[in-house]
């Protein structure tokens, strides 16, 4: 694949990943209410699972760059996770803050490992 086509692909697929995150986060947030950031959690856990599968099936090179790094990398987000955690802390919701950090980390590692196993890695 040519250099230009590859990086155009990274851009377009990254944009689509961001749109998918927006769609799912909006939908989940609208249905679960404003107490806990379930939208970001669901996006991040599902993305970790899928990226684990890609690693499990040993996707590599340009294919991994396009599907893994571009789509799934853009689909999941670290910055929003941290922003929402910070706002929970500011409002004194310590238990929800702790849950948001710990659940994301533990379930995230679990989802990535499960994906890897499902992929046969």
């Amino acid at each position: 694949m040519s250099f230009l086509a590859l990086w155009l692909g990274v851009g377009v697929l990254g944009g689509l990943g961001a749109l998918a995150r927006f769609a799912i986060d909006s939908f989940v947030s609208a249905s679960t209410g404003a107490r806990f950031p379930f939208g970001t959690l669901l996006v991040n856990l599902s993305g970790a699972l899928v990226l684990g599968v890609l690693v499990g099936v040993a996707l590599h090179g340009d294919a991994y760059l396009l599907v893994g790094t571009a789509v799934i990398g853009s689909y999941t987000t670290f910055s929003t996770w941290m922003l929402e955690s910070h706002r929970l802390a500011e409002d004194g919701r310590r238990w929800l803050l702790g849950a948001n950090i710990v659940l994301s980390l533990l379930l995230g590692v679990g989802a990535a490992e499960l994906g890897r196993l499902l992929g046969g890695g």
Binding site: V10, S29, L83, E84, D91
Partner: protein
């Protein structure tokens, strides 16, 4: 301040309640989607370029992911606090820079896969250190940029 930040609990970038200017909640705003897409392109290319030029193994600190995550968190903290508390609501800069650029520049899934690979290779200390530093660093980045924006407003 809590009443201002209260509406952002769930989804500071996407929740319908955080967008009082939305003309019709039922209609898709194409310009908003275009802004998110364009921002996502920029963020993804920047992150992928850094990841390609700074490849690390399971026994090394993942500098590429670590740097984009902290940088993206700092940018988002600055942006959202500014939009939320200083400027009139501006949906498109939030969509482009926040949901698009910062969302796509930073990544959660890659961190999780890096942690799994570290744990697989029995680098438990490295995995714990990386997870702790990412969370502490990302949180500190939001904390500091939020504070900076609020302080700038007070001195004006």
């Amino acid at each position: 301040m809590s009443s201002l930040t209260g509406v952002y609990h769930v989804s500071p970038l996407c929740s319908p309640v955080s967008k009082p200017v939305r003309p019709s909640s039922a209609r898709l705003d194409r310009q908003e989607l275009a802004a998110i897409f364009a921002g996502g392109c920029v963020g993804a290319v920047a992150r992928a370029a850094l990841a390609q030029s700074l490849v690390t193994n399971a026994d090394e600190w993942p500098w590429a992911t670590f740097c984009v995550n902290l940088l993206g968190a700092a940018l988002l903290g600055w942006l959202i606090t500014r939009l939320q508390e200083r400027l009139p609501p501006s949906r498109y800069s939030r969509s482009f820079l926040g949901t698009g650029v910062c969302g796509a520049l930073t990544t959660f899934s890659t961190v999780m896969v890096e942690l799994v690979k570290m744990l697989e290779a029995a680098h438990v200390g490295l995995a714990l250190g990386y997870a702790a530093a990412s969370v502490a660093g990302g949180f500190a980045a939001i904390f500091l940029t939020t504070k900076l924006v609020r302080r700038a407003r007070l001195t004006r």
